[in-house]
Symmetry: none
Subunit: 220 residues, 4 copies
Amino acid sequence: MARRPATSPRKNASQERSRATVDALLAATARVLVRDGYDHASTNKIAEAAGVSIGSLYQYFPSKEALVAAVIERHIGEMMDVVRTSLVRVAALPLREAARELVRVMIEAHRIEPKLHRVLVEQIPRVGNMEHVERVDEEATALVRAYLEARRDEIGVEDLDMAAFLAVSSVEAMTHAAVLRRPALLSEPRFVDEVAALVVRYLEGDAATSGARPAMLAAE
Amino acid sequence: MARRPATSPRKNASQERSRATVDALLAATARVLVRDGYDHASTNKIAEAAGVSIGSLYQYFPSKEALVAAVIERHIGEMMDVVRTSLVRVAALPLREAARELVRVMIEAHRIEPKLHRVLVEQIPRVGNMEHVERVDEEATALVRAYLEARRDEIGVEDLDMAAFLAVSSVEAMTHAAVLRRPALLSEPRFVDEVAALVVRYLEGDAATSGARPAMLAAE
Amino acid sequence: MARRPATSPRKNASQERSRATVDALLAATARVLVRDGYDHASTNKIAEAAGVSIGSLYQYFPSKEALVAAVIERHIGEMMDVVRTSLVRVAALPLREAARELVRVMIEAHRIEPKLHRVLVEQIPRVGNMEHVERVDEEATALVRAYLEARRDEIGVEDLDMAAFLAVSSVEAMTHAAVLRRPALLSEPRFVDEVAALVVRYLEGDAATSGARPAMLAAE
Amino acid sequence: MARRPATSPRKNASQERSRATVDALLAATARVLVRDGYDHASTNKIAEAAGVSIGSLYQYFPSKEALVAAVIERHIGEMMDVVRTSLVRVAALPLREAARELVRVMIEAHRIEPKLHRVLVEQIPRVGNMEHVERVDEEATALVRAYLEARRDEIGVEDLDMAAFLAVSSVEAMTHAAVLRRPALLSEPRFVDEVAALVVRYLEGDAATSGARPAMLAAE
DNA sequence: GATGAATGAGTCTTCATTCAT
DNA sequence: GATGAATGAAGACTCATTCAT
């Protein structure tokens, strides 16, 4: 047990060195991706930007794709953390408040390295596991669906799968569209209000626009 | 004008030949893009697929980008034609019917060469001028805004810019999400119903979720 | 028929240009192979030695291996021509004369670019189709077998397959060994005599050393 | 000497450990060479296969070549041991029996790690000093020549250098050809018979094919 | 002596583009 | 205008070897 306490730090030193190299590479990849775009982000440039030799890059990442995939994974992880945390926090709130919070968080999540986010969203399909982003959407959809189920009585849409899918898609998309086309909107509270209103009205439903539920139920 | 009637056809022949070459190139580009993806679609391959020499390709298109840009332009043009035509046709209809029609058309528009569409959407950002697509969205937004203005009294949202922006973004996005994540939905009429419902409920507004308009007006 | 006589030369010019490039590449490959050995013969070096761009090299040969394979093919073709021609010429001669001639030709065949030959023999296993050289041996074996069959009555070995195999292998090997270890021998007529003697004695056979044939037959 | 009896085992332990590391490296090299071929056998792979760090590998072998050379040396040593032992054992036997035994041993020698043998034979020229192999042949030739000299009266070939050279070359080559082209033959006793017959007939000589000796002598 | 992270020269290969014919 | 051979910059990736710990 007490036999080799001295080697442990040495091992750690080594591990830390590796860790530092990997971190430098991921950071450099993100930077180069933002600066040059995927197509012009060569492994040599990335290695140089990381202050690391090209050989070291390949010691840790078997290909350019793997490198980008790792950056994506990390970025998505960060976004999902934000979303997951928020959805948990929101679970007990009534629809209207929950919706506002969700939209707010969605926008907030898009504030994490927005330039990197944009590049990744645009280039992701090319990286083998293009399901990355879709996976986020699917997970978010599942979480929302669970929430809707718990609040079944407040929901005026019959098909909860559909409801969750459309809610997530549209919030995601409106946020995205705002990021791309109306960046100014992101800082206006009105924007949150409107997007939340859109979702809430849809989810609450009403007898007139949704033929899915019998009138008497919708009217109750 | 009457001077060389014999050359005119020849000139036409030449013009037609050029036109044919250009068409062949665009078609070949689309085909290769779908088959090989943007990264593996080389100009040499495209020229070969078009049955045209690489030299001729560069006679008509100064660069690979120009070629892809032309394909994008054409594809977007086709989609916009569909959308524009539909919005005109819809102009006189009441909100609920107009919305249904618009959604239907949006989905239909995504049925034009869906594989090419997907590749283009994925790669457009890399070709540089993705303003093309944004232009489409902006034009669509403007058209919708005009419609909303004409039907001002049916609309429960204060800010028509916002209303048009969110309506277009969300319909566009839900369609898109369905194309990517739930292709099966595209054939289900329910899908059109739901998306239309989402938009209509938002645009009609209601006293409870939108503080912008007095309750009685919203209820009318 | 007489329609486009003018284009023919142009096409030829183009074809000849290609042909010249290919020839230059093959010659350069042989030269570099001899000078640097397979491992240090890079495609860039070869292209440079051929006075051709690296791009052109890959226009005609999809890989380094293909290039080397072509050189091998060509070299083997030349050797086989010599051998085949000789074997045909020899077909009508009695064993002893035929053997002498065959040995002489074998040695002669090894005088075609001997340095290249050495490199190729040594490196060939690495080039996908390593059967190249073996194919030569197999063809030679088949030709010799046919000869032996025709001269069945002069042959004292029961199994003609075995006889042909051993005859070809040993002549080939002795020649090869001489090339590598006793180059001086190649110019001595004695060498031809001895090698021929070795083969002849074996093929003629004798009652004492070969148990394969009954004594009376061997004695006839 | 008696001073530190305790360190002696430690030193031995150290020496043994070195020895073990070297052995592990040689064994790993052989294994990787067989598994991956020379080109894909990297020093890193070998170190890993040996369960040794790459640093340690370079402690014992200054270069990849040195490593492979050591493997060759060892393999050739093993083969030579077999051959040497056999030739000694055979020294007192008459030609026919000696020849059979020699051929048998030659084939047996090729059964020592045949896959490694093949890789080495193919790659040795590239490792630079192929003198190793030539040395083997030269030593074998010298031993055979000594034998022939001792049995001068049984030999019908004038030039013993030539006789030894051709005998060794051809037996070596036929064995080799069989390994490469007719592996099945190696297990057939007939093969040994025939190869031995070939050598014996040559060495015994005869009046008709070798003008060197008078007919009556050859006939005795 | 051992370790293994780091190095970087050098390899093969692709592809947009040019230009002589 | 058409052709297609030629170009070469640039990219991804390997691996023998070094050296700080």
